[in-house]
């Protein structure tokens, strides 16, 4: 092997080793930071075909509806707990901090946290989601923003429409 080739070989080997190491480190870090998403029934009954249940202490995300009347606040701190449900079993979420602006009983939320016992999650973050409405594309296109026109204003409106 001539020196130029040798140098090239060293460079290529170094590059491959570096790349392999980087990708390995990346995948390892990735594995450490995956949070699976459960619904309350999946959490209790298990998820997928094998009915896999999360382990106690596992980090996860849970999404469901806040059960009416289940929000309990501590009188002197920001501790709060509430129940979540989708179609069956109920799961309790405990949280300390400010709830999101759109948090309401009967609304859907997503919480991120750790499973502390079979039906309780200690949340580090609570997100409100608004999913009350689906928007199939064509429909959303055609109808977006059309609000109902009160009858009292119908006449006035059609007048205006003729002279834009």
């Amino acid at each position: 092997m001539n020196p130029r080739r040798q140098k090239r070989l060293v460079a290529v080997t170094a590059f491959v080793l570096l790349l392999g190491g980087a990708i390995g480190a990346m995948l390892y870090a990735l594995q450490q930071n995956i949070d699976l998403f459960y619904t309350p029934s999946q959490l209790i009954d298990g998820m997928g075909k094998d009915k896999v249940k999360p382990e106690i202490g596992q980090r996860l995300r849970i999404g469901g509806m806040v059960v009416k009347g289940s929000v309990r606040r501590a009188p002197d701190s920001l501790k709060v707990s509430f129940d979540l449900v989708d179609t069956g079993p109920i799961v309790t979420v405990e949280y300390e901090g400010i709830l999101p602006d759109l948090f309401r009983e009967g609304q859907g939320i997503v919480a991120q946290g750790v499973l502390v016992d079979a039906t309780t999650i200690l949340a580090s973050e609570v997100l409100a989601k608004h999913d009350e409405e689906y928007m199939p594309p064509e429909v959303a296109e055609a109808m977006k923003g059309i609000k109902h026109v009160p009858p009292s204003q119908l006449y006035k409106e059609s007048d205006k429409g003729q002279q834009p």
């Binding site: 619904t39 859907g108 409405e133 689906y134 928007m135 199939p136």
Partner: protein, 189 residues
Amino acid sequence: MRKLAFFIPFVLFIGLSVFLFSGLFSDPMARESSVLNKPLPAFSLPDLQQPDNLWTAEKLKGKPYLLNVWGTWCVTCNAELAYLTELREQGVMIIGLYYQQPSDAAFGEVFNLTALQQEVKLKLEQQGDPYQWNILDKDRTLIFDLGVTGAPETFLIDTKGMIRYHHIGDINPQVWQQKLAAAYQSLQE
């Protein structure tokens, strides 16, 4: 070797696009409905236009029908009204389950039945009325038991009051033909 190396970016990109493509078509709403093949949960809710008239799961038995969860606030629901009306004219029985959004005191909203009745009436006059009648679920209790996560959603119920199909999203000719028409026909017999 060297020549082939220049194809690596292209190959990687094509591999990525396959996932993007399948991601595009995986329905984020798709999941097993846990109410399927179970009887309609027990309830007792008023008729929207005649609140004295209470509807229960028992009273609804006898004919197969579609239970359509909707609301005037929901743009998608309004859009499917026309097609549902067409279905009604073909003889399909459709019952509306009115999804009332929670009145949010923070926004100064108060529930007003008369105003709602007016609104629904006008909307159905304008866009078509597919419903035999509407059931008002003001506190979203039945909606909750049915595992509804949004509107519109539609349930196909058989003569014995069993839930045979749960459709999430709007009903259009395609959805009807592919998913619901056959099931509905079989229940007729």
